[in-house]
């Protein structure tokens, strides 16, 4: 398989990576300043992952919406489906950062947590 050029999105270094999938299924990575780059590039070639961040509506006039995220990475191709689901929610309880509002969102293994403070 040919080389793929990637930009690592894990940290502000933003390393320019060159990744190549080998015959045995392993991934060869160059250009990374740290091991996180290897994991990122491997995931990108095998099964890209992202953290969903967005907002959910609330019932409180002082917070029409509140910031939310998945507490871990989820498959990239599910991000739009999560966004659509989150846009159907309406919170009726005031929350603080870290409060779980949906467990195992869409069965993807990640919880949806609030990241801003309404209290």
């Amino acid at each position: 398989m040919s080389e793929v050029k990637l930009t690592c999105i894990v940290c502000p270094n933003g390393c320019e990576l060159v990744a190549e999938k080998c015959g045995d299924g392993s991934v060869k990575v160059a250009g990374n300043l740290c091991p996180k780059g290897v994991k990122f590039a491997t995931d990108e070639l095998v099964r890209p992952l992202r953290t969903f961040t967005g907002t959910a509506a609330t019932a409180f006039p002082d917070f029409p919406v509140i910031a939310v995220k998945t507490d871990r990475e989820v498959p990239k191709e599910e991000i739009l489906r999560i966004a659509e689901y989150v846009n159907s929610l309406c919170l009726t309880k005031r929350c603080s950062p870290g409060d779980v509002i949906v467990k195992d969102v869409l069965g993807l293994g990640a919880d949806l947590v609030v990241t801003a403070d309404m209290n």
Binding site: L6, P12, E16, T55, A67, K76, T115, A116
Partner: protein
Amino acid sequence: MNYGLIVIGGGPAGLKAACSAAEKGLKVLIIEREAQLGGILKQCVHDGFGVIRFGEKLTGPEYAYRDITEVKRLGIECLTGTFVTGICDKDGGFVVETTSAQGIRSDFTEKIALATGCRERTPRQVNIHGTRPAGVLAAGACQNFVNLKGLLPGKRAVILGSGDIGLIMARRLTLEGAEVIGVYEAKATPSGLQRNIRQCLDDFGIPLHLKTTVTDVYGDKRVEAVRVSAVDDSMNPVGEGEIVECDLLVVSVGLIPENELAEKLGLQTDPATKGIAVDQYMMSAGKEGVYAVGNALHVHDLVDYVSEGAATAGADAANTRKRSLVKVGAEGLMYVVPQYVDVSDANEKKTFYMRAPRDMAVASVKLYADGELVAERKLKNVKPPEMLRIQFKFRASDSITLRLEEEE
């Protein structure tokens, strides 16, 4: 009331400056014009904040929450919904006048930290012709509508300028169900970080058109279309361009430090940063006792370094220094902060923040003291959107110059 330090602005810079001054025993007051602390981080619901400072990827509100929790723990007094209407010198300190729903108020402080952030360059500042219908928004204003007010300002968006907020909003609008037709950038290289182009545009198949700009806006009450045209190397449109139908034009064309209060104090701004000139403790070179921190000092790309600079300023507010300032020469650089170094200071380690004027594959930053090369740092993949932060250890000297050189 009397304070040791009044911090104007309750965003990440103000919060950290306040905490670090309070930890040194100063009586601190934070003045914030909005109803809540947190500043612009409140509306930055995406993640990527805090990797350097906390070793974790936080969202903007989570990052702010950590500092706000610390402000509360330290018992720092905060006035929210309060606007500073005047600052003047008095008895070696300052009088700060404010207004709020509670009325007007006047406080004395020995020192001031300006943490007022920055403003967005407006659509009108980039010479777009045509009518002025609804639906033309600066990227940060669009972010405020979507992320704090829960409103979607358009269904079919064109983004002008490849600044980070524009890229972040391209993704946000997509996630909220809008169609983002493309990002148009007049320059030959993007203004935003490469990793934002990857995760905000490429992930969603949003095209980035370089050397292309919006030349006309069409629509009566509401934007109906824009004209996009290729530009030549001197940024002049060439050819007739193309009409793109849209109901939202998001403009992400840069940020300018907010310095109205610095001007009230008679402080000059550095034309390169558009913030005031400071020493290595972020204290104004022109006026003792006045600090500038965060985006009010110079526009940062990482909040982690906003907090770092603010911590330096806050801790210094508890000190008394007899300053002896030397101007820092900057060669081959867009700017350097600090612009001055207090050479009477015994601490040899000094942190410099700077930006390169153009992309360089390999470069080095050289520090000259009294004409002699005293330190050098090699750098790879230098880009203007990514601020360089370099710490040098050196002894006091009569002349200091930083020089960025491209290498083969």
